[in-house]
């Protein structure tokens, strides 16, 4: 492959790829994202390859291993193009039937179709599935169409045409103007206007400017950045190239979380291919613009998602944030002007350049434009990644797209914004989701984690969970964060273990105020949010723990006990055999009992009982 030396080279190559592809060729797009791999997608891929070879169908069908399609709950997923037949929960043993029925013949295998939960009708096409048809996948939609390890796939769908437009039809100032006009706001959590950031960085004095892609997605329960980097890495790189050109940077970094091996692999492949094609390196497409990107793996520290800590980490130092009296756009990496944006923000850029700010700003609300990808997880039927326009309500996301709460349980709260965010109760479900409204509710957009909780989730336990996380992840620089979070955690532990006392709630509020106001970086400043928001909306639950020594959700071990319902118990002995501490006794076919002295409340008896006879009291 020779490098593209001009715009024409790239355009001719694009035509060549498109012309060489048979639009009628059947493509089996198998999701090969981390989630579906965990379900066994690799084995399915091998089975397809074997079957296609065995039946000598290489000319008629192509297997494409793609990034995340979004509907993780139903993985492994395949979509068969051009008809867009959607098969879910596919396994190795279905492969030969799929080939013979849906490739060789023109039949649909009903067993593998998604069944509409209400009408009970099977749905054939991907875009008719309720989970998908309410989404607006302008950023993540290409994930299920392209092979992320093949740059030609990206070029065939128009990839790098925004870069061309930026380099040949626009100048740095007009690019920044366009991004400002689109009112793109940072998707990493802060929501800062991207164009304004670029402009400040461009205007900062200095011969070297850096751009960074923050892929240190540390919020537990959020994985949209991972899926973009795994599924469509070139869109992120293209965004970075445009940003670098606008700012005047020739060196970029992608800082990826250590726990995402596939994302590291795919982004490295993408960079290598872009270099081979001359899209990265010296004199890109024959212009004066030179730019290259390096990948840095994180070391497993949540605080490195904070911009100054991240930059310290790239420099080979411990990830301690510094005060931002001087912003990183003026003095960041190696004390040079540095522009840092999150993965999803970068992925928005090519779209804005290609389609224009007017088109882009029609999507969303007044102050939050475009779409947002959320990872909808927890106690929800349709776990997965959803991309929706800003302004959609939480209810639409959780109930219409997410399919509501499993097992007929009642919705309790949704946690947004990760450990820095808060829990939002049912009465606010009709709130339109955008940066400002979520902040008003005491939570935040964050990077887009959305964890649904049902009536069996204890809100005090959830608050304690987040503080446990933050206590471990605090870098220790500020006393209020290092000690304050720990003390708050201890108070919450006391409450969940039955040692709560009058005044604890007020003390938590006071401590929370101090931690938020006297800590240097975002980690400490937002750390009390999970506690303060649960106190705000679920104070009665805290009070039940403290005053009545009762956990209403029946989660906190010290406040519950397991008992066997003498009516329901059949004496099958399953609980007795499985009990790790021999606390259960009883004769065969006669009701069993639990010795409360011996019981360690591990919950195994409750889990293994087939007759629902073990109650939590």
């Amino acid at each position: 492959m020779s490098k593209f030396l001009s715009k024409q080279d790239l355009e001719e190559y694009r035509k060549k790829i498109i012309n060489s592809r048979d639009p009628n060729k059947i493509i089996i797009a198998l999701c090969g994202d981390t989630g579906c791999q965990a379900y066994g997608a690799n084995k399915i891929a091998d089975a397809f390859r074997k079957e296609i070879k065995a039946k000598n169908l290489q000319d008629r069908v192509e297997l494409k291993i793609t990034g995340c399609h979004g509907f993780c709950e139903r993985g492994p997923l395949i979509v068969i193009y051009p008809k867009k037949i959607f098969y879910q929960k596919v396994s190795e043993k279905d492969v030969s039937e799929i080939i013979s029925e849906s490739v060789v013949n023109d039949n649909v295998i009903e067993r593998l179709l998604y069944v509409h939960p209400e009408t009970k009708e099977p749905i054939v096409k991907e875009d008719e599935v309720p989970f998908y048809n309410r989404q607006q996948k302008i950023i993540s939609g290409m994930n299920s169409v392209i092979d992320p390890t093949n740059i030609d796939d990206y070029i065939a769908i128009g990839g790098y045409s925004a870069l061309e437009k930026a380099l040949f039809d626009m100048d740095p100032d007009s690019i920044i103007e366009e991004v400002k006009k689109a009112n793109l706001r940072g998707r990493g959590g802060g929501g800062f206007p991207t164009g304004v950031k670029w402009e400040s960085c461009k205007n900062a004095p200095g011969d070297i400017h850096y751009v960074i892609c923050n892929a240190d997605e540390g919020d537990p329960g959020a994985y949209m950045d991972r899926s973009l980097l795994e599924g469509n890495p070139h869109s992120v790189l293209e965004g970075m190239m445009i940003g670098a050109y606008a700012i005047g940077s020739s060196e970029g970094y992608v800082y990826v979380r250590n726990e995402y091996p596939l994302a590291v692999e795919n982004v490295n492949i993408a960079i290598k291919q872009a270099r081979e094609y001359g899209l990265l390196g010296e004199n890109i497409l024959g212009t004066d613009f030179s730019f290259d990107i390096k990948v840095t793996r994180g070391g497993g520290a949540f605080v490195c998602g904070e911009s100054t800590a991240l930059m310290a980490s790239i420099e080979g130092l411990w990830g301690e944030p510094r005060a931002k009296h001087i912003h990183t756009v003026v003095s960041g990496l190696y004390n040079k002007p540095t522009n840092l944006n999150n993965v999803e923000t970068w992925a928005n850029v090519p779209l804005i350049i290609n389609k224009g700010a007017d088109w882009y700003s029609k999507i969303g609300t007044e102050n939050s434009k475009g779409t947002k990808i959320f990872s909808l997880v927890g106690k929800v039927n349709n776990t997965g990644l959803v991309e929706v326009p800003m302004g959609i309500t939480l209810r639409e996301i959780i109930f219409d797209i997410g399919g509501g709460i499993p097992n007929g349980k009642k919705f309790k709260a949704v946690q947004t914004g990760g450990p820095s965010g808060g829990c939002i109760p049912e009465e606010y479900l009709d709130t339109p989701v955008d940066f400002d409204r979520l902040t008003e509710l005491g939570s935040m957009m964050g990077s887009g984690g959305m964890i649904v909780m049902d009536e069996s989730t204890c809100m005090v336990d959830v608050a304690r969970y987040f503080l446990n996380f933050l206590k471990d992840e605090s870098c220790g620089k500020c006393t209020t964060c290092r000690e304050g979070i720990k003390r708050m955690y201890e108070i919450l532990t006391d409450i969940t273990e039955g040692r709560g006392k009058e005044g604890d709630i007020e003390l938590l509020e006071e401590l929370g105020w101090v931690v938020a106001n006297a800590s240097l970086c975002g980690l400490g400043q937002t750390a009390p949010n999970p506690v303060l928001s649960t106190i705000r909306y679920f104070r009665d639950e805290y009070e039940a723990h403290i005053k009545e020594k009762r956990c209403p959700a029946k989660v906190c071990k010290a406040l519950i006990r397991y008992e066997i319902d003498q009516e329901k118990c059949t004496g099958c002995g399953r609980c007795r055999i499985n009990c790790p501490v021999e606390a259960i006794s009883g004769e065969k076919k006669k009701p069993h009992i639990i010795d409360q002295e011996k019981c360690i409340k591990c919950g195994i008896c409750h889990e293994v009982c087939k007759f629902d006879a073990v109650n939590i009291i």
């Binding site: 379900y39 993780c72 540390g218 991972r226 726990e259 990830g319 927890g378 106690k379 946690q415």
Partner: protein, 157 residues
């Protein structure tokens, strides 16, 4: 001690102090932990104080100063896994192996660690064993899983 493999890694990053995290990551991947002598060797090779290397090695979770077991068990404690019962699964594994997260069994067979989200939340609770994901875990599945690992180990040998 032979440091030739360490030299190779140091050279890969041009013996530059700013490459120290990547150097330690590669060493960790190769040796499974960061032995004291190696840290000293890296410090002198990069002309930085040992305290600097030690500070990096103890700041980031990816590094371990003690040897890890043959099998690595990682229990995901991300929020989605947490609300779906991951703590119970962790407790069960702790009880079965007699170790807490961060520890290794005396026979160096198992190391146990917790991670904060692997981004495969649809499958929660997740337990990763030697890179292989086991989804939708519950306490009853733990016995089966541990048995499988132990047997697998014997077959491989």
């Amino acid at each position: 001690m032979d440091f030739s493999n360490i030299d190779r890694i140091l050279d890969k990053y041009d013996r530059s102090p700013s490459g120290i995290i990547r150097i330690l990551q590669d060493v960790q991947a190769e040796l499974n932990y960061l032995p004291r002598d190696v840290l000293k060797y890296i410090a002198s090779s990069l002309s930085v104080p040992l305290s600097h290397v030690y500070r990096i090695a103890t700041f980031y979770n990816a590094f371990s100063l003690v040897p890890k077991g043959k099998h690595m068990i990682s229990v995901c404690l991300g929020t989605a896994c947490h609300v779906r019962g991951a703590p119970k699964v962790l407790e069960k594994i702790e009880r079965e192996l007699g170790i807490s997260p961060g520890e290794t069994t005396e026979d160096l067979e198992f190391s146990l660690e917790t991670v904060n989200c692997l981004g495969a939340c649809a499958l929660g609770p997740i337990v990763v064993v030697d890179g292989e994901y086991n989804g939708e875990m519950n306490v009853s599945k733990v016995d089966e899983l541990l048995k499988k690992i132990k047997q697998g180990g014997e077959i491989n040998e």
